[in-house]
Symmetry: C2
Subunit: 189 residues, 2 copies
């Protein structure tokens, strides 16, 4: 919450402006070409900075992209809780679908997939925590966080990565309806 | 099924040996570093060929990797059909889990995810065709290929990409059990 900042030069000013240009360049280039075809020289040219400044600051491309890109769903965003679990899950899943319907967010997810697999990503950990918060009041033994990940998060993310043209407004409701049919399944282990 | 090939030079011999070395180099480097960190100079060095031969033949890295890597499940492999749909789906899903438990196959899938999203990949199209073949004799209106993709293929692929340490022998059976609980759900649209 900065008070009206005086327009005098301050330490970090140049650095903040480089960061902002690099960030904008990365997001544009990823949306245009996919993360796989973005290189540091391309980013530097688009941002109007020397490639050496990019290398000096971030070392390599993967580090830079992870640092500057805002492809994450804000974990501090408000989560709707009406008290009806089914309604709340549909609205939570619809948020995820909407977020990844923005091409740069989908492109960043695809890029993130390429380097995933060693630890749970922040992004996935945040979704898992949100699911746990939504499920907590219900405390049903058939409805576990793992089942929400397998049958609601996974099909959405799979469609975002591999079948983006199948993402529409009805997907969240349809998957939650399927999830609720598991009430009659054997308890999850 | 080559008969004892005469050890005389033949057209394509040099080219076939370059292809074999490049293929081995790509698979080793991807398994070691992840597809994102593999470059053409690294591949050329490991394969013992000039980078220019690689550029001349394939043009760029993504084209080369897609051309040489054998990360696909062979679409001509035998699919078990016992006549019991549930048993057959478990064995089909277990094949997919087993295939992607091999680190180079998982690394290639993650790399493929990075460039996915414009058309259905061959790999996904093959899995969808296999699911359709398995489902055909049953002809149940609750069990559609889309549901098999959402609730069986997607959670497996999601775990391969983001949570590989959760893949174990029980996953396929567990997901198929959940899928069969959808019998009581509203028909899929």
């Amino acid at each position: 919450m900065a008070d009206k900042a005086a327009p005098t030069p301050r330490p970090g000013g140049r650095s903040a402006s480089v960061l902002a240009s690099v960030k904008a360049a990365v997001e544009e280039l990823i949306a245009e070409n996919g993360r796989e075809r973005v290189t540091i020289p391309m980013v530097a040219e688009r941002a109007g900075v020397q490639p050496s400044s990019v290398y000096r600051r971030w070392g390599d491309l993967a580090t830079m992209i992870n640092d500057v890109a805002t492809y994450r769903l804000d974990p501090a965003r408000p989560i709707a809780t009406t008290g009806d679990l089914r309604t709340d899950l549909v609205s939570w899943a619809s948020d995820i679908v909407r977020h990844y319907s923005v091409p740069v967010n989908a492109a960043m997810l695809r890029g993130g997939a390429a380097s995933a697999g060693e630890n749970e990503s922040d992004c996935l950990r945040n979704r898992r925590a949100e699911a746990a918060t939504l499920l907590a009041p219900a405390d049903d033994d058939w409805l576990t966080v793992d089942r929400v990940v397998d049958h609601l998060v996974a099909p959405i993310i799979y469609r975002v990565i591999f079948l983006p043209w199948t993402l529409d407004d009805s997907i969240a409701g349809q998957l939650v309806a399927d999830l609720f049919a598991l009430r009659t399944a054997a308890p999850a282990n």
